[in-house]
Point group: C2
Chain length 364, copies 2
DNA sequence: TTGAAAGCGCTAACAT
DNA sequence: ATGTTAGCGCTTTCAA
């Protein structure tokens, strides 16, 4: 029992060759029914479980895909735990609070991951998941890379040199961030139309005119969202009066921006945020400043994370088809395996505006 | 580029033997510094990524662990999608609604999974995740089994014969459900103390006396929780007036039980529920019947899922250390690999009562 | 329809 | 300190 039965054991037991055992499992029709029964029975009795390592080696394919995501709970600054003590007692207070704050809902990443999982299982692929803090990032990543036929990654979850290296060996698909690496396959959403539509809604349905785009690190997604915003403004003949305030880098947090605006008493009519998480932060900051949403100012997000449905006021947003994006990543990977030489694909999925309370609507 | 560089290529390029290449990666100290540089450089230039299949085969260990969980979104009854149509357009309305209902928060499974992930990455183990609907369950499961050194499973996520078979070959650890299979390692929590404590709280702090235990499928966890409940009652000298009403099987849903009670106008002082999810259902049913919590009746849960913090009234519950449970599963697995002959372990982790609004307390 | 045999890429004795 | 070599368990021609 130490080492587990192999094809050899099964073959011996069934009185056939190892090739026949292999055939029985991979191409059951190629063996006579009676032989098949024999082999299957032997395998059953022995508790035979094929070794994926051996199979992978022999076939040159592992039959597994990988997913690598950053862990938004692990702050790069302070690593995975508060102290290096007992690995099982995470610096409780601190970590707990973080969990309370951030882990409330399935976020963007989780929902995409779910899509990846479901599609992998459906297509008979094993799925390896990786992640973690920047310290062991690369180790985990290249370990995974050696185990899979293709890799799905979230942007920035891994240094781009490491990614490039891996992409030389196996197909890699990146979600969003379409500009980042033009050699890779990508799946994105229609950021421009989404933000354009939600902005138009604010203007047309609520008669708002002084809108401010806010949030996020610069990224190609956010650039596109901003473009959609500006497009809607100009279509409506409105000036972008808040021009200097959009995508703020890390040196100026969203919270601080909002606080400053509140203190100056110079609220816009609406904050059009680059992501739902930004919008949540904005709403928190507004609440802290005693500003009422949507009465005093409207707020919109982008993503459609679950939290937006639950908070009060509920968040008007642009929903990305996250599960489908995950599934599409798997599609692309599997497709790429069969067609290594196709030009890089950039699938762009549609989005949907979801009107809730934070813009001033009163959803049913 | 088609097949990717191997040790042989690296060795040739660096002008050393393949063994030296191997050593360079596995035991860097065993090779002269200069040689090491040489090899590393060659590997870098070639874009070498070690094949985990080959390594696994040679070493007799894959270096990966598996996690298998049921997917609570996939109803066994109707499978993964409403129609068998386009795999990318899940029967939208239906699936969406489910997501709205169930996918609001990270549930028990998610939080445990998170612990497993973090611990795996920390310990340098790759992680394979499996799940899915009952149809491809077994296929996915045995596929995973062939790829890993050990497997963590949620109870009932897989037929027990299949599990037994796998357990013959690799260590398997089950979370909770300690009675189910006594050969396997288990990690559980102190269900009895938890429910006892929360029940005592209802009695002592709120002066309630007619309590009703409710919910869940029968399971060893729920049995223990019920035992804690009954223990607290008898300690307090209270009769279990609601005896016939506890763990209701599938033939009588929790919702129906609550509705019936409301219609009869025979509310107890409190519903002590077997899980948070049961408690949420109970609270929904009560709300639908116009019953106010906690004024008319108190409700408590068990688990400590995030949703309980967010709903109103917030849910008084017993929190399981879910992340830690996941980490512990990994511990057990890794430990078992080194000590195959140790007797089966059953780690029981402590729980914590969390007082919130649904019992009548006024937290924070 | 089945068997024989040559690898797949790497590790780990064992030699040198 | 490094090289030689024999597998690890399976797939897959090619023969029989």
């Amino acid at each position: 029992m130490a080492k587990g039965p192999t094809v050899y054991h099964v073959a011996e037991r069934a009185g056939v060759s190892i090739a026949t055992v292999s055939f029985t499992f991979r191409q059951p029709d190629k063996v006579k029914a009676s032989t098949r029964e024999l082999v299957l029975a032997a395998a059953e009795e022995l508790g035979y479980v094929p070794s994926a390592s051996a199979r992978g080696l022999a076939r040159g394919r592992t039959g597994a895909l990988g997913l690598f995501a950053y862990d938004y709970l692990l702050d790069p600054a302070d690593g995975i735990r508060g102290d290096g003590q007992d690995p099982h007692e995470p610096a409780a207070a601190d970590l707990e609070r973080r969990n309370e704050d951030l882990r409330l809902f399935p976020l963007y990443v989780d929902e995409v991951q779910r899509g990846v999982e479901l599609e992998c299982w459906r297509r008979g692929q094993a799925l390896l998941v990786g992640g973690g803090n920047p310290e062991n990032n690369e180790a985990v990543l290249s370990d995974i890379a050696g185990r899979v036929d293709g890799l799905a990654v979230f942007p920035r979850s891994v240094p781009s040199e490491a990614l490039a290296r891996i992409a030389r060996r196996i197909p890699v698909v990146e979600i969003s961030e379409s500009v980042h690496n033009r050699e890779l396959d990508h799946v994105t959403v229609d950021n421009v139309s989404g933000v354009r539509a939600i902005t138009e809604h604010l203007i047309a349905a609520h008669g708002l005119s002084e809108l401010m785009f806010l949030g996020g690190m610069p990224s190609s997604d956010n650039d596109e969202r901003l473009a959609g915003f500006l497009g809607a403004l100009s279509d409506a003949g409105l000036p972008n009066t808040r021009e200097p305030k959009y995508p703020c880098g890390s040196e100026q947090s969203v919270t601080e921006v909002v606080r400053a605006i509140c203190e100056q008493g110079s609220l816009p009519d609406a904050f059009v945020c680059a992501t739902d998480q930004d919008a949540l932060v904005v709403m928190d900051a507004l609440a802290a400043a005693g500003v009422n949403v949507p009465r005093d100012v409207a707020v919109t997000g982008f993503d459609g994370i679950a939290a937006g449905r639950v908070i009060r006021p509920s968040l008007t947003t642009v929903r990305q088809p996250m599960e489908q994006m995950g599934r599409t990543m798997v599609d692309l990977l599997l497709d790429r395996l069969d067609h290594p030489d196709k030009p890089p694909a950039a699938i762009r999925l549609p989005v949907r505006v979801i009107l809730r309370e934070s813009c001033g609507c009163q959803p049913g």
